[in-house]
């Protein structure tokens, strides 16, 4: 046949070209090398594409780690994941292995390989994934390995999925028990789910996802028997356990925690581990969603408002209660104060009888459980011994406490209303108690503060007196020191003669730093001769005397030192000998330090002009200005 050229084939050639161009644009890249995935660090090998700046896994993926050194040294944590991605979704057969092995360190050569026996545990999971969701049979197992052989199966789960939805019957084996059950096509639990265990069997009987009855050995109890107005399909997860707990009561729910719940939780944990890995690499919804149906009692808008106010009041009340219960001052005070002790125990009572149940309401709200509980049953579960009354009687004692306007609160209303009333009452009662107790604590604290301040003041004045008594008090410096001493003592006398009042504490707070300032000033003034020597030393310069052929100390910038000695120091002493207030004492103390620092600075500076200006200058304030220092304000 003679080949003919047709426009159709030209078109397909063109299409083919276009396609290969786009393929080129999205060229696959490959990475092999070290990689970290959550807590897993190992060697990885995968291919990917960069699309719009994002890395999208595409094609085979494998990551593994094992270390012979670690194994021989102590133990090795090994893992290996392999599978494939398509457009960023895990897709296709996947296999996960996690092991934790120890070796007896005995080696054997078989063929051309060294062989080491290991003990430990191996987790394995394998199955198919379609677009990030499990599909088909997934087998997850955990085995104990001894001498490199499977010694015991610790866990095994076999569940079949259709596009992420569990199907047909499943089987989950624990160490000593096996759970067998089945699902409807929609993933809803159906029929009996039975846990076969050595001691006793546990059966959850579902009808179209509704858990009707639970039997545990001899004991059988109903769960959702009576017909209900509305139902919702939810996941069989922690929330479901909460709802069951509220439905059957605490004792029975306690028994339910073992058995089937435990095994399901274990299964969940295994899936969660795999989901964590997959969702870090791409998009996945690997968690198996077992569905159940539960009765539905949606909150209406009025009830939602009540819940809102319960939450608000609870948060406030709980903060106040904890503040009081954990206040160390109050804890000390209540040992000596009967009233404080009584109120403290009322707070304790409110905390257990009011706040703990309200805290549960808050938690149920957060866990979205409230919509699935019949209101009266909720109240029953929150207050098994009946709702509290407005008269709060502590555990030990006959006396009761009534909060403000107790009669206006009614706890006998419809469930949410009465809960809102209870929380509001708890709040106002605690506020009232807190105001009384804090006042008590404050007084006590004030007393202690007074004692602390006064002890400090006495220590300060003693130290000041001791210091001045041990110093030579002749001359202008001595007069200044004695003046400081008498002013400090005068201030303390004024304080001690003042009557006890709120203002007195403030005064004490001011007097403590003031006395500290006086002490500091006294020390600074008594240090003046030392400072003078220091300056004298600093203002010496060695000059070479050609006639003696040696170096001699020469006083330089004499006008500066003269101004310091003859103008500034007498001025400082004169100021210290005047009527000193705290502020002025502080400023004077600072000035003494500043002058000294400035003098040492001026030694290094070019002061020719300054020295000229200082000639015959006798006014200390002018001198200070020339020195660039702030004179004291009088």
């Amino acid at each position: 046949m003679k080949p003919t050229f047709r426009p159709q084939s030209l078109f397909s050639l063109f299409l083919g070209l276009c396609f290969s161009m786009t393929m080129l644009g999205q060229e696959k890249l490959r990475y092999t090398g070290p990689f970290q995935l959550g807590s897993y660090v190992g060697e990885v090998d995968y291919t990917y594409q960069i699309i719009d700046g994002d890395t999208l896994l595409q094609g085979d993926f494998s990551m593994k780690r094992s270390s012979l050194n670690a194994l021989i040294d102590q133990k090795d944590k090994t893992f290996s994941f392999s599978g494939a991605f398509e457009d960023g979704f895990p897709n296709g057969p996947w296999n996960f292995q996690f092991g934790e092995f120890q070796s007896d360190q005995k080696t054997e050569v078989v063929g051309y390989q060294y062989r080491v026996n290991v003990d430990g545990a191996q987790h394995q999971a394998q199955g198919n994934i379609v677009k990030g969701k499990p599909d088909g049979l997934w087998i997850i197992s955990e085995q104990r390995i001894e001498d490199s052989e499977v010694a015991e199966t610790l866990f095994s789960s076999q569940i079949t999925y259709a596009n992420g939805v569990p199907q047909q019957s499943f089987r989950i084996e624990g160490k000593q028990s096996t759970l067998v059950g089945r699902f409807l096509r929609t993933g809803l639990a159906h029929d009996d789910w039975t846990l076969f265990a050595e001691e006793s069997n546990e059966t959850w009987s579902f009808t179209d996802g509704v858990l009707r009855r639970v039997s545990m050995g001899e004991d059988t109890f109903d769960v959702f028997q009576s017909p209900f107005r509305a139902a919702r399909t939810i996941n069989l997860d922690k929330r479901f356990s909460k709802i069951i707990k509220l439905q059957v009561g605490p004792e029975k729910s306690e028994a339910l925690k073992k058995g089937i719940s435990k095994l399901l939780a274990e299964n969940d944990a295994h899936y969660k581990n795999l989901d964590d890995i997959l969702s870090q690499l791409g998009q996945s919804q690997f968690m198996p969603l077992f569905k159940v149906k539960v009765p539905y009692f949606p909150l209406d808008s009025v009830e939602r408002n009540h819940v809102k106010s319960i939450k608000k009041d609870y948060v406030h009340a709980a903060k106040v209660a904890h503040g009081l219960l954990e206040n160390t001052q109050l804890n000390l005070l209540r040992r000596s104060d009967a009233e404080a002790q009584f109120l403290y125990s009322v707070v304790q009572k409110i905390n257990t009888a009011y706040l703990k149940p309200l805290q549960k309401v808050r938690r149920f709200e957060e866990q979205q459980v409230l919509d699935y509980v019949e209101r009266n049953q909720l109240v029953q579960r929150l207050f098994p011994n009946g709702k509290p009354s407005t008269l709060i009687t502590p555990e030990q004692g006959e006396r009761g406490f009534e909060g403000p306007q107790a009669s206006t609160f009614n706890f006998k209303e419809e469930a949410m209303v009465s809960l809102a009333q209870i929380s509001a009452y708890a709040k106002v009662s605690l506020d009232q108690i807190a105001s009384v107790l804090y006042e008590k604590v404050k007084n006590e604290q004030q007393q202690q503060e007074f004692v602390a301040f006064e002890e400090q003041m006495i220590a300060q004045i003693n130290r000041l007196n001791q210091f001045i008594d041990s110093t030579d008090t002749s001359g202008a410096m001595g007069e200044a020191l004695l003046n400081i001493k008498s002013i400090a003592e005068g201030k303390l006398n004024v304080y001690s003669n003042a009557t006890q009042s709120d203002g007195k504490l403030e005064e004490a707070k001011l007097l403590v730093p003031c006395l500290a300032t006086f002490e500091k000033l006294a020390r600074n003034i008594s240090g003046l001769p030392q400072k003078e020597l220091e300056i004298q030393e600093a203002y010496k310069d060695a000059v070479w005397n050609p006639f003696m052929a040696n170096l001699m100390e020469e006083e330089v910038k004499k006008r500066l030192t003269a101004a310091y000695r003859n103008v500034l120091v007498p001025y400082l002493l004169e100021q210290a000998n005047s009527a000193l207030e705290c502020d002025k004492a502080k400023a004077l103390d600072q000035l003494i330090t500043d002058i000294h620092t400035r003098m040492l600075e001026l030694r290094e500076e070019d002061t020719a002009k300054l020295e000229r200006k200082l000639r015959k200058e006798k006014n200390p304030e002018t001198v200070l200005e020339l020195f660039n220092l702030q004179p004291l304000e009088n």
Binding site: D541, A542, V543, W544, N545, P546, F547, M548, A549, N550, L551, M552, E553, E554, D606, A608
Partner: protein
């Protein structure tokens, strides 16, 4: 009376001239050395030392030397005004050198002489001074070499050239302090030998031997005052067998201002410490 005085002056001058004429004529060494009666002198000396750069200083000395005469027996009258200048180089704190000139104005103190009353004298001099600390004191060695042109007061006197070779040893011992520093009183014994050479020097190479003790007080690093007594003796130029002697009271002021600008002075006021 006035006339008589004037006449007698002339008579004495004539007589003296005759004697000296006789002496010059003799010019023979006596069999034993002869010591003239000592003269008394008073010297007022100022020593200036101006620091002009890191290592250079200007040495400026002005001395007023008085010599006794018949009329003014003790303090005498001005015999010489002495200007000594040099540029000094500070090699180190302990070693310095100087080079400069001297203009000395000699006044004729001979009241009977009718020769020239004033004669200038010129010198070029250089000096090498070494200081050594010793315990709390200092000792100094000074070598000074002078090239000197002098002439006598006589009208027909010509300049003669001589070299002077001087070595001085001096110590300064603090009396009221552990070292030489301001407000210190010190005692300074010194001995200087002055030798001379030149065509005119025939039999009298030892021009002068000076033995001095001074007492000084250091007021500030830049100002010191001192006073002391010097005995000196030496051969006369005319006759090596005849020795002149003198007792000299000396009063000194030492000052050493630093005329450098502050900004030059501050960073490197010391040179090698």
């Amino acid at each position: 009376m006035k006339n008589f005085c004037r006449h007698s002056v002339w008579v004495v001058a004539f007589l003296l001239f005759a004697v000296s004429g006789n002496a010059q004529e003799e010019e023979v060494l006596p069999s034993e050395s002869k010591y003239k009666d000592p003269k008394t002198k008073v010297w007022f000396n100022t020593y200036g030392n101006f620091r002009i750069s890191k290592r250079l200083f200007w040495d400026a000395q002005t001395h007023f030397r008085f010599e006794e005469t018949e009329d003014t027996p003790f303090i005498g009258q001005v015999a010489q005004i002495y200007n000594r200048h040099a540029i000094g180089y500070i090699y180190s704190k302990k070693v310095n050198f100087s080079l400069g000139g001297v203009l000395r104005v000699n006044f004729n103190t001979d009241e009977d002489s009718d020769d020239r009353p004033v004669v200038p004298e010129f010198r070029i001099w250089h000096q090498y001074q070494f200081a050594m600390p010793l315990y709390n004191s200092m000792i100094y060695h000074r070598l000074r070499i002078e090239h000197r042109w002098t002439k006598g007061f006589a009208d027909d006197s010509e300049y003669i050239f001589r070299n002077r070779w001087r070595y001085m040893f001096r110590a300064k011992v603090p009396l009221n302090n552990h070292k030489l520093e301001p407000k210190t009183l010190y005692v300074s014994p010194e001995a200087e030998l002055i030798m001379q050479s030149g065509k005119a020097v025939v039999s009298s190479p030892m021009e002068d031997l000076r033995l001095t003790t001074t007492l000084g007080y250091i007021l500030t690093p830049r100002l010191t005052i001192a006073g002391g007594l010097m005995y000196s003796q030496g051969q006369t130029l005319e006759n090596g067998g005849i020795y002149k002697q003198s007792w000299t009271m000396r009063f000194h002021v030492y000052f050493s201002p630093d005329i450098r600008k502050v900004k030059n002075k501050l960073p490197e006021i010391h040179f090698d410490d």
